[in-house]
């Protein structure tokens, strides 16, 4: 953990991405189809970051994109897929199966306890589970141990302190106070456990407004704040927008066609071929798309429709 007291932490996406170094342990926020820091992942791909060690729980688009964008050296997520909607993650699979990415698959409660150890400033946590599972083969750092108080078998898992956490939130102020709407998934844990935290936010509000609504996490945990509307697209960031199933479907088809096709049909168009988030959202579909993704508010039927596009 670090303590950050600068009054003005607002910077550009490109400036904030430079905080992430090659080989860093990076906690990626959100999960599955919700509130993943996609604009930041795109920027890291553009900047050609390499060999990142990704940490997280149940993820999908973000990790697959990062693998396809060639910025990953190891994946310590607990689950990576597009669930039963589209299925196995094509870029992630290829990266694991070719040996390009080291498989460090972890399990949710294990990683939660490892992050809590970092948050609490403790060296390790004893766990009653993990025994019996081959997951231990992927984690030589876990140690079998006998609880000296009860004589029972436990597994010791070390504190896991990410070098940097990338979190996309609804609101932040320039000082670094952050308002996240639940579900948090592991984001609050990430923000408290990581050495540095880079937050992208849909809205930057005044400090007075932030005090009025009450920050989820106070400013001194945050290293950098970036204003990125639609920064989680195509995953959801409610109440602003639902997930963009149509876009994910296009992505998935490109990813299935292999690394070269993914680069030319997807990365060149939506990552390397855009200079700003505004340009990205124009390419994605502009005003009509933005209105459609906000239409979940209009009631059950409209909301359901968003799950059938694509």
């Amino acid at each position: 953990m670090g303590i950050f007291v600068d009054r003005d932490k607002l910077m550009t996406l490109a400036e904030a991405a430079k905080i992430v170094k090659d080989g860093d342990k990076v906690a990626v926020g959100g999960g599955l189809c919700m509130r993943e820091p996609i604009a930041m992942v795109n920027e890291l791909i553009r900047q050609g970051r390499r060999n990142l060690h990704l940490i997280g729980t149940a993820h999908g688009f973000d990790v697959d994109l990062a693998c396809g964008g060639d910025i990953v050296g190891a994946v310590e997520e607990t689950h990576v897929s597009f669930e039963q909607d589209f299925g196995l993650a094509p870029n992630y699979r290829r990266a694991c199966e070719s040996g390009k990415v080291k498989i460090r698959e972890n399990c949710c409660n294990t990683i939660i306890n490892q992050l809590r150890a970092a948050e609490y400033g403790m060296p390790f946590v004893p766990m009653k589970s993990i025994k019996g599972s081959d997951e231990i083969k992927l984690h030589p750092e876990f140690k079998h141990f006998v609880d000296p108080f009860t004589g029972k078998k436990v597994v010791l898992v070390p504190a896991l302190e990410p070098d940097v956490a990338l979190i996309h939130v609804q609101k932040a102020d320039r000082h670094g106070n952050v308002k996240v709407d639940p579900p948090y998934v592991a984001d609050v844990l990430f923000m408290r456990a990581a050495k540095k935290v880079i937050v992208t936010a849909e809205e930057i509000v005044s400090e007075e407004e932030m005090i009025r609504i009450g920050p989820t996490i106070p400013y001194y945990e945050m290293t950098a704040i970036v204003h990125v509307p639609y920064g989680a697209h195509p995953t959801s960031c409610y109440p602003y927008y639902a997930y963009d199933r149509e876009y994910i479907s296009e992505y998935f088809k490109a990813a299935q066609q292999g690394p070269e096709a993914f680069r030319s049909n997807y990365l060149d168009k939506y990552v390397f071929g855009v200079a700003s988030q505004e340009e990205y959202m124009e390419k994605v579909g502009g005003k009509a798309k933005r209105e459609r993704l906000a239409s979940w508010k209009e009631g059950r039927e409209k909301w359901m429709e968003l799950f059938t596009y694509g």
Partner: protein, 280 residues
């Protein structure tokens, strides 16, 4: 004469999973779990009204969603809730022995209920990477009991080659059953008691109390014991009172159709399985 009313395999399957859920218990479904999601919601509205319902990664307590979505992490799944908790609180309950049930599946499942959700091959030479177990490695050890489900029991034939989900040996054990590669549960000082039910598209199984081997308990009306044997690489036990399962009520089926208008309950099947219908 009463009009003909048909129930699909997808609806009957949901009811079979729902029957493993008891009232006044704490229950959680994880990621990539459309069928348990429907089964939990159905149970909360029918026989398990006082179940404490943790709805997936969203971690809402007792949600009452307007419909069920294709992903387990969406604001749809926190609508109508009593409260939000963070996901670590659900795992805390489990490690204290206070989470009564969850649901797990696997691309490979062995006779003791061990499941592989991680890979074909080995960590150094991975041939197929599966998504990973999410919380399964921990919760399969910690939950009081859990239900295994798969819609892919039926053996796949490609030429002479047979491909089984129910295998003699898993390439990798992600979620643990009764006898693990590192010994039986009784020797591992675990919190939970392991899987007690296995629901597939061919049958419903419990576990033999002595041998801890999967044991056929109920059959679908269009499946025989021979079909089960043909589709299972190991030799499952047969319960002495094995029989055809009870059909759901018409009310249960209509409720499933109402709470699941997007038919997420059908997402997990090979297309030809969904043609199976049963008359009530």
């Amino acid at each position: 004469m009463a009009e003909k009313f048909e129930v699909g395999i997808d609806e009957l399957f949901v009811v079979n999973v729902a029957r493993t859920i008891e009232d006044r218990t704490t229950v959680f479904h994880g990621v990539s779990s459309p069928i348990p999601m429907v089964a939990m919601y159905l149970s909360k509205l029918t026989h398990a009204k006082d179940m404490v319902y943790f709805g997936g990664v969203s971690s809402a307590v007792d949600p009452n969603p307007p419909f069920l979505p294709y992903t387990t992490n969406d604001w749809v799944m926190i609508q109508g809730r009593t409260a939000m908790v963070t996901v670590d609180k659900i795992f805390d309950l489990a490690q204290k022995g206070e989470l009564d049930r969850s649901f797990f599946s696997g691309a490979q499942i062995d006779m003791y209920g061990n499941q592989n959700v991680s890979m074909i091959g080995s960590p150094d030479k991975c041939k197929i990477k599966f998504p990973g177990g999410a919380g399964g490695c921990n919760l399969s050890a910690d939950c009081v009991n859990y239900t295994i489900w798969t819609t892919r029991h039926r053996v796949q034939r490609r030429g002479d080659k047979k491909s089984y989900t129910f295998v003699k040996k898993c390439d990798f054990v992600t979620n643990i059953g009764h006898v693990t590669p590192y010994g039986p549960r009784s020797e591992l000082d675990l919190v939970g008691n392991g899987p007690d039910w296995v629901v597939t598209e061919l049958g419903v199984f419990d576990f033999d109390p002595e041998t801890k081997v999967m044991r056929l308990r109920y059959l679908y009306p269009d499946v025989t014991v021979d079909d089960i044997m043909d589709s299972t690489e190991f030799q499952p036990a047969i319960h002495p009172e094995v029989r055809v399962m009870d059909m759901p009520t018409r009310e249960e089926v209509e409720l499933i159709r109402r709470i699941d208008p997007l038919k997420v309950r059908q997402l997990e099947y090979p297309p030809q399985e969904l043609a199976r219908k049963f008359e009530l």
